[in-house]
Amino acid sequence: MFSIISTMFLGIGIGYVLRNWSILQKTEKTISLTIFLLLFILGVSIGSNSLIVNNLGKFGWQAVILASSGVLGSLIAARLVLQLFFKQGGKQ
């Protein structure tokens, strides 16, 4: 985890030094491509995991309940934090 964050800071350094290179403004495209690749590899690792594939029905719905609950909880919390602490004074 530490090395991942360090990699990002290395990137910030590189990006800052070379900020006038116009090619660096195209990172949004390459970032999307990298994310596609990352999700593709995730798919491969799930598809080739027989424990998951054979029990998808049994584990899947439990995971749906837990994921939806977690998402709902954080949505409500984020909404409350926004209204209670970030709304006064208008937009930042």
Binding site: M1, S3, I4, I5, T7, M8, G11, I12, G13, I14, G15, Y16, L18, R19, L24, Q25, T27, E28, I31, S32, T34, I35, F36, L38, L39, F40, I41, L42, G43, V44, S45, I46, G47, S48, N49, L51, I52, N55, F59, G60, Q62, A63, V64, I65, L66, A67, S68, S69, G70, V71, G73, S74, L75, A77, A78, R79, V81, L82, F86, Q92
Partner: protein, 206 residues
């Protein structure tokens, strides 16, 4: 939205390929390297941003309330979810929720921490549920960012993303919630990242 659909498409193609081929390479190692490549690019895009100084000067202590909200909201509702999942205790459900979309780490930790108390079979099952739960959470964040922003405000995409607010979800957060949210999203990701092993081990030992 188009980007999210392409992401899902790549994920599905990957699943199908994984089903029918036995790959020789270690997918975990490969995805780690890709994650490094991603973080380097995310860093470069932040560093080369012309309004970097203005963005950093927006950081404020009250922004710590956002990761705090993510943690409290997720854990509270994960605990409620245990009402529907009789097989697992409240703390098991909270341990799964503590993954905050960090599927790889949380599933491994849960399998390891639960094995001494409930045995390898059940621990592996809970670990698998944790993996799927946190993948689903990432998918919901990836697909839902525009809708989430619309109905729950600009902080919600960060909160739902959990640990991924600093990497995979950062481009969508910046697009829908605004570029000024980038430092908050990174701070959120780092703090949630640190909290994952702490909370998972805590709830597994209760």
């Amino acid at each position: 939205m188009k980007g999210s659909l392409i992401v899902i498409l790549f994920f599905c193609i990957g699943c199908v390929m994984g089903l029918f081929n036995k790959f020789e390479f270690d997918t975990h190692t490969v995805s780690m390297y890709i994650l490094y490549a991603l973080m380097l690019q995310v860093g470069i895009s932040i560093g080369s941003n012309k309004s970097l100084k203005a963005i950093v000067s927006h950081l404020h202590p009250k922004m710590l309330l956002i990761p705090l909200g993510t943690i409290i909201g997720t854990l509270l509702f994960s605990a409620l979810a245990s009402l529907f999942l009789r097989q697992w205790s409240v703390f098991d459900c909270m341990a799964v929720g503590s993954g905050f979309a960090y599927y790889s780490l949380s599933s491994i930790l849960i399998t390891q921490f639960k094995e001494p108390s409930i045995g390898l079979q059940l621990a592996t099952e809970l670990g698998t549920i944790a993996l799927l739960t946190n993948i689903f959470r990432e998918m919901m964040a990836l697909l839902g960012t525009p809708v989430i922003k619309k109905y729950f405000g600009k902080l919600a995409p960060i909160s739902v993303a959990g640990v991924n607010s600093m990497d995979v979800l950062l481009p969508s957060i910046s697009r829908y919630s605004g570029k000024e949210m980038i430092p908050i999203a990174i701070l959120h990701g780092i703090l949630i990242d640190i909290s994952v092993p702490v909370f998972v081990s805590f709830f597994c030992n209760l």
